[in-house]
Symmetry: C2
Subunit: 494 residues, 2 copies
C-alpha cells in the first residue's frame, strides 16, 4: 500500500485554516451524535517516529469534550502484558459506547516491531495478522467504528526532524535511540510497514495514509477522514452485520436427548478416586505453573446441575495462589456498553494460572438469546465470534476445557425442592430458576445448537452426566488431568 | 510483639483433626453468613519464607465455595505499580461485599523489605506505617473485616525446611535466593518484623501470630481466629463507627454566600490570557512529565456552573498522551459494593500524568448525603477519610488541586433555560438537574460544611467565581500553573 501511495497535493486555492475550522466544527457536532447513538469510536495513530502523530493528535481532540475521549499510549509492553494473549492489552482498552478512544500506536507497532526485531517468526506474523483482522472485524460487527491512520514521512524529512529535536535541550528527550535506528534502517522498516498495511486493509477499517510534510494539510485530511467515518458508521449503526460461514473444524456431538444419564459411581470408589485424582492434579498444577501454561475451564449447565460442587472439587486440588473462580452474572452497565467478550478478555488468567468460569461467554447464545437481551443478529454472529475468541486462547498456548453439566428435568425438580426445604441452601434457589425451568425446551434447543456450532477441534465440549454428581466430578477431574498431561507433553517436546 | 510471643502449647487430650473439622464446618456456615450480611473479609498471610503460608492457606480455603473467595499473591511489585502511590496496588484488590480475599503477603512484606534493603528511610517507614494504619481503620469503618496472620518459624526450623525443599528436584524451584538470604540474616529480619507487628497492632485488626512447628495445630488456630473474627464482625456489622477528630491543619475558607460573583474579564483580555496561559501550561506539562510529578484536579460545583467548559480549557493545554478526564457518575454495582474510595483509587494517574475528575469523591458528602445513598455515619466519617486519602496523594508527591465552581441561583436558572432552548445542549439538562435545583439551600449547607472540613493545607479548595465563565477559566489556569511551578521548584531543589 505504502509503495502505491502518492501524497495528495493540496488543492489550489483552498483555505486550509478555514476548512480545518469547518471540520472541527463538524467533529464537535459528531461527538454529540456518537453520544446519542452510543457509538464507540477507536482511532489508531500509527506511523514513523517524528512524523508528528502527537501534535496532530493534540489538534484533533482540541474541540472534543474531554469527558468523551481518552488517549492511550500503547507503545510500552510490560512484563505482565506478556503473560497474556497478544490481543489482551488491546481489548482491555476498547472504549464504551458513546466515547472516543485515541491510541498513540496500536497493534501495528507491536507486530511490525516484532517482525523487524526477529521476535516473530513468519508463521507467528501471519497468526498476528489473522488475530488483528478478526478482532477489527468483530469490533465492527459489534458496532465499533475503527479508524486507522498511518503517518508517512520520507527518510530525509525524518532525519531532518530528529536532528532538530535532538539539538534543542527542551525536546531532545523526545528522541530515542530507536528513532535513530529506524532512520538508519528506513528501507527495512518501509518494506515491513508496506506489507502490514496491505495485510490489514479492509473495507470495514481501511487505512488512511497521511503524508505529514504539511502539518495543516495533514490535519485537515485526518479530521475529514474521522468525520466521514462517523457519518458512515452512523448510517450502519444498529444494522445487522453479515453472519459468517464457519471456518473452523467442528467435531460431531450428541444431542442432549441422546445422552445417557444413568452413569454412576459407588461411594467408596468416589472417595478413593477423588483423593487420587486431586493429588494428581495438584502435581500437574505445579508442572503447568513452571511451564507457564494457562488453563481456562468453562462451566455451563442447567440450574442445579451441580456446577458449584464440581468446580469446588477441581479448585480444591489446585494451589490457591494459582487459580481464580470467576462467577459470571449479568453484565454491569460498563460491561454491557462494550463488546460482549470484553468482560471475559479482562478476566483471563496469567500464563501458568487457572481461571474457572462459572458460566461464561456462552450466555450470549443461551440466556441473552432467549430473554432478548441481545438482537438476533448478535447471537447468530456470536458462534463465530466465540470460536475466534477461543482460537486466540489456544493459539496463545492455553488449555481450554468446556464443560456442559447435564441433568434431566426430573432431577432438576428434585434438587430445586431439596434446596427450598433446606435453610442452608435456600440462597441457591430463586424465582428466576423456576422461570427458567419453564423454558426448558427452548433452552434445550439453544444448547444443542450451541454445542454443535462451537464444538471445535481446538476447544471441544465435554458433557458431564451429572444425575450422579459424584460421577460428574470424577469425570471432570479426569478430563482436566488428561488435558494438562497432553499440554505438558507437547511443551516438553519443544 | 514477636519478642513477647510464646507459642501456645497444644492442649492435652485435644483431637486436632476433630476440632479442625468443626472449625471448617463453621467456616462453611460463616461463608453463607458473610454473603447474607454482604460482609467483605480480607485475610492477610504474612511471615517467614518456608513457614508454610501456602499449604495452610490451601487447607483454610478447602471448604469455602471457590466462587466466594480469591487468593492474590502480592509479592511482586511491577514497574508500573511503582508509578502509583504505595497503597494503590493494595486498594485495587480489596474484595466486594460478601466475599473473601486471601492475600499471600500484603503491605507488611513490602514495607519490612523496604526497610531491610534500605529502600525506605526511617521517615518513609513511619509514613508507611501511618498509611497502613489509616487504611486498615478506614476499611474497618467502612464495614470490612481485616484479619492479619504472621507465620512464625525459628531460624533452625527454617534452615531445615529450606534444605529439604532445595534437595528435592520437584520443590527446589520454590526456594529463592532471598529465602536463603533471610535465613542468613534471621536476627535482622526478626527485629524488623517485631517492630512492624508492634507498629500495626490494633483492636480493630489485631495480629495473630502462628507458630508453624505443628501444621495441624497451626491450621486449627488460623481457622478459629477467622471464625471468631467473623462472629465479631457480624455483631458490629451495620453499626456506626466512631467519628474521629480532625488531625489535619485546616485553612479558613469563606461561606458560599460571601463569595463575590461580580468578577469579570473582557473578551479581548480573555482571548489573550487564554492563549498565553495555555502555552505556559503546555510547557509545564512536559516539565512535570519529565520529573514524574502526577497532578490530580478535582472539579465540583453547581449544575451548569461551567465545569465542562472549564475542564476543556485545561485539557486543551495538555499533551493528549499525558492526561485523562474522568467523568464521575453514580457508582455501578461492583463499585457500590466496595469501599467508597475504591473507584477513585483505581482511577489515579500514573506519575507524570494528569487526571481531571469531573465530579469526585466529594459526592459522598453532597449528593450521597442529601439523597440518603449512604448512612449518616458514612458521610460524617467521610470528611476525615477524604482528608486521609488526599494526604496519601500529596505524600506520594502528587499535586492535588480542588475547584469549587460557584454561580448564583439566578445564573443557574438562566443557563438551564438556555440549555432547554438549544437543541445541541439539551442533552446537558435533565429532570434531575431541576430536582437538585429545588434543594439548593440544602446543598449550600452541605457544601459549606464540606469546604470547611476538607480545606487542608496540603490540598486546599479554590473557589472559581463562574458567573462569568471566562473569568473562571482564566483563574483555573492560573491556579494550575502556579501549583505546577511550585512543584517543579520543589522537585528541582531536591
Amino acid at each position: 500500500m505504502l509503495k502505491d501511495f502518492a501524497a495528495p497535493e493540496i488543492p489550489e486555492g483552498i483555505d486550509l485554516s478555514e476548512r480545518i475550522a469547518e471540520e472541527q466544527e463538524k467533529l464537535f457536532k459528531n461527538q454529540m451524535a456518537i453520544k446519542e447513538a452510543n457509538l464507540p469510536v477507536m482511532v489508531m495513530f500509527e506511523g514513523w517516529g517524528a512524523a508528528g502523530k502527537g501534535s496532530i493528535l493534540g489538534r484533533v481532540i482540541k474541540d472534543i469534550d474531554p469527558r468523551f475521549f481518552r488517549v492511550t499510549n500503547m507503545s510500552k509492553i510490560t512484563d505482565d502484558d506478556r503473560r497474556f494473549p497478544f490481543l489482551y492489552r488491546y481489548m482491555k482498552v476498547i472504549p464504551e459506547g458513546g466515547k472516543f478512544a485515541f491510541y498513540d500506536s496500536f497493534w501495528m507497532e507491536e507486530v511490525t516491531n516484532g517482525l523487524l526485531k526477529g521476535e516473530l517468526t513468519p508463521d507467528e506474523y501471519r497468526s498476528r495478522i489473522r488475530s488483528i483482522n478478526n478482532a477489527e472485524r468483530s469490533l465492527m460487527d459489534n458496532g465499533y467504528l475503527v479508524l486507522k491512520f498511518f503517518f508517512q514521512i520520507s527518510k530525509k524529512e525524518q532525519k531532518h526532524r530528529l536532528k532538530a529535536l535532538d539539538s534543542d535541550a527542551d525536546t531532545e528527550w523526545r528522541v530515542s535511540d530507536s528513532d535513530w535506528y529506524q532512520n538508519d534502517h528506513y528501507d527495512k522498516f518501509y518494506d515491513v510497514y508496506d506489507r502490514y498495511l496491505d495485510d490489514t486493509n479492509s473495507g470495514g477499517a481501511p487505512w488512511c495514509i497521511i503524508d505529514t510534510d504539511d502539518k495543516k494539510w495533514a490535519l485537515l485530511q485526518v479530521l475529514s477522514f474521522i468525520n466521514s467515518g462517523i457519518d458512515t458508521a452512523l448510517k450502519n449503526h444498529g444494522k445487522a452485520a453479515p453472519i459468517r460461514q464457519n471456518v473452523f473444524q467442528l467435531l460431531p456431538i450428541e444431542d442432549l436427548k441422546d445422552i445417557r444419564l444413568d452413569k454412576t459411581i459407588s461411594d467408596e470408589d468416589y472417595r478413593k478416586e477423588l483423593k487420587k485424582l486431586q493429588k494428581k492434579l495438584r502435581e500437574l498444577h505445579y508442572k503447568m505453573y513452571r511451564r507457564r501454561i494457562p488453563v481456562i475451564i468453562a462451566y455451563e449447565g442447567w440450574d442445579a446441575a451441580g456446577k458449584g460442587g464440581n468446580i469446588k472439587r477441581i479448585a480444591a486440588a489446585l494451589d490457591p495462589r494459582g487459580f481464580v473462580v470467576e462467577p459470571i452474572a449479568s453484565p454491569e452497565p460498563h460491561e454491557k456498553n462494550r463488546h460482549f467478550l470484553w468482560r471475559f478478555w479482562t478476566r483471563l488468567p496469567r500464563s501458568g494460572h487457572f481461571t474457572i468460569f462459572d458460566r461464561t461467554w456462552y450466555g450470549r447464545v443461551m440466556v441473552e438469546r432467549l430473554e432478548g437481551f441481545c438482537s438476533e443478529n448478535d447471537w447468530q454472529r456470536a458462534y463465530n465470534e466465540i470460536n475466534e475468541f477461543e482460537k486466540e486462547l489456544t493459539d496463545w498456548g492455553a488449555v481450554v476445557i468446556k464443560f456442559w453439566v447435564q441433568i434431566d428435568k426430573d432431577t432438576q425438580l428434585e434438587r430445586f425442592n431439596e434446596r427450598k426445604a433446606n435453610p442452608e441452601k435456600q440462597w441457591k434457589i430463586t424465582d428466576e430458576d423456576w422461570r427458567n425451568r419453564e423454558k426448558w425446551d427452548l433452552y434445550e434447543g439453544a444448547v444443542n445448537e450451541m454445542l454443535k456450532k462451537t464444538n471445535t477441534a481446538f476447544a471441544p465440549w465435554h458433557v458431564l452426566e451429572s444425575n450422579d454428581k459424584h460421577y460428574a466430578r470424577i469425570k471432570a477431574l479426569k478430563i482436566v488431568i488428561k488435558a494438562c498431561e497432553k499440554a505438558i507433553e507437547e511443551a516438553d517436546k519443544k
